[in-house]
Symmetry: none
Amino acid sequence: MNFNNRKPIYVQIAEYFLDNIISEKYIFGDRIMSVRELAIQLGVNPNTVMRAYAYLQDKDIIFNKRGIGYFIAENALKNAIEIKYNEFTKEELPGIFNTMEILGITIEDLKKLYKNHKTNQNENK
Amino acid sequence: MNFNNRKPIYVQIAEYFLDNIISEKYIFGDRIMSVRELAIQLGVNPNTVMRAYAYLQDKDIIFNKRGIGYFIAENALKNAIEIKYNEFTKEELPGIFNTMEILGITIEDLKKLYKNHKTNQNENK
Amino acid sequence: MNFNNRKPIYVQIAEYFLDNIISEKYIFGDRIMSVRELAIQLGVNPNTVMRAYAYLQDKDIIFNKRGIGYFIAENALKNAIEIKYNEFTKEELPGIFNTMEILGITIEDLKKLYKNHKTNQNENK
Amino acid sequence: MNFNNRKPIYVQIAEYFLDNIISEKYIFGDRIMSVRELAIQLGVNPNTVMRAYAYLQDKDIIFNKRGIGYFIAENALKNAIEIKYNEFTKEELPGIFNTMEILGITIEDLKKLYKNHKTNQNENK
DNA sequence: GTGGTCTAGACCACC
DNA sequence: GTGGTCTAGACCACA
């Protein structure tokens, strides 16, 4: 995983799980890596992973069996979608729409930018 | 001006000028408020305003006449648009498009969300 | 490090890093002193160091790992040379050449002055 | 006269006189513009001109006849050369030589840069 | 009056 | 521990 500097690392870790739960790579009951393991794999301080897990646990995305590990919760999929969707529409979109108006970018323009985005993505594969 | 907590104040001050330059409320040659003046008006420390002005000067949006004050630079409009546009397409859009794919949101869905956004905006007026 | 009064301290700190990157005393990946550490060592306020670091980061000379510290960036050498060279040829040389013409100093004269300079340097060692 | 922002305006005004005295456009006994006149012509605060004149008077480059005006002093040429030369060799050159060493620029390189400089100058005429 | 630099010290988020 | 932002207040050069 490559971290960018615009968001806290622990947030990026949490998002990684949210995304993979939504795309159902992780499903109810799956055990996820231990804090220590993941920290080593990511080259990151265990506290940072811990913080991501604490966040996910708080949101009912994962749960903890003491002494055993962390597991995907029953409502993980539903909750993950809800979190992501709310964040998207309430936190991100207003700013985006605002900027679009200031710059005079229309939804049609956005469509073109989206196509470019997809093209670039495929090229980098 | 109301500050939100998600971004540093000095960034929000700089953005205020960028936005108003793009909408041509400020044009080439206009003098902007002195550091002290604006600081008092915003209820903020002069250093904080200074930081915003230093950023804008570095980006060729404003320039300084010694002992007199800050003025909108000749290429302010061009540069402001460039900064805002790059910020938008390079920093914000990729994340947005990513989230849209994960959540299965299409450009058509976005259009609807945009209409809602506009409606809410008008209601709050 | 001894500061002179002709330039702001934060500029002199930044130049110290530029020079040492160019002479390859600092290379890609090296961690530099933390803001606080360097501030104490130089007997200077952390804000002043911070300002130098912010400048260097903006110019892609150093980068930050969150919560860990600042490191020499990959293109630090290239960028540092470019900055220094541009500063030299665009800002300093024109004035120098102008003064030389007014005073009737030739490049040959300069060569002699350079030799004196080197001699004095060695005597002071 | 176009001012640049790297030096105080009053210094640039003083330098204008020094240069023109050295090139003997102004000679002993010439009356120079009054403070007010020059201030208006330059679009500058009279205090700023006053400061330049005070500096020049202090260095025995000009003198004042009360109620009449400022005049070029007898030893203006000699003094102007001395000031300019000292400043050049003591203040400017050491820094230049230093930078040259850091960047690995030789006197031969400088010769080429000087030729470019002259070429550009002629093109702009 | 203008900006520019600096200090001292606080508080916060993050690792 | 790390950086980042902000305040309060000082001092200075310059116009």
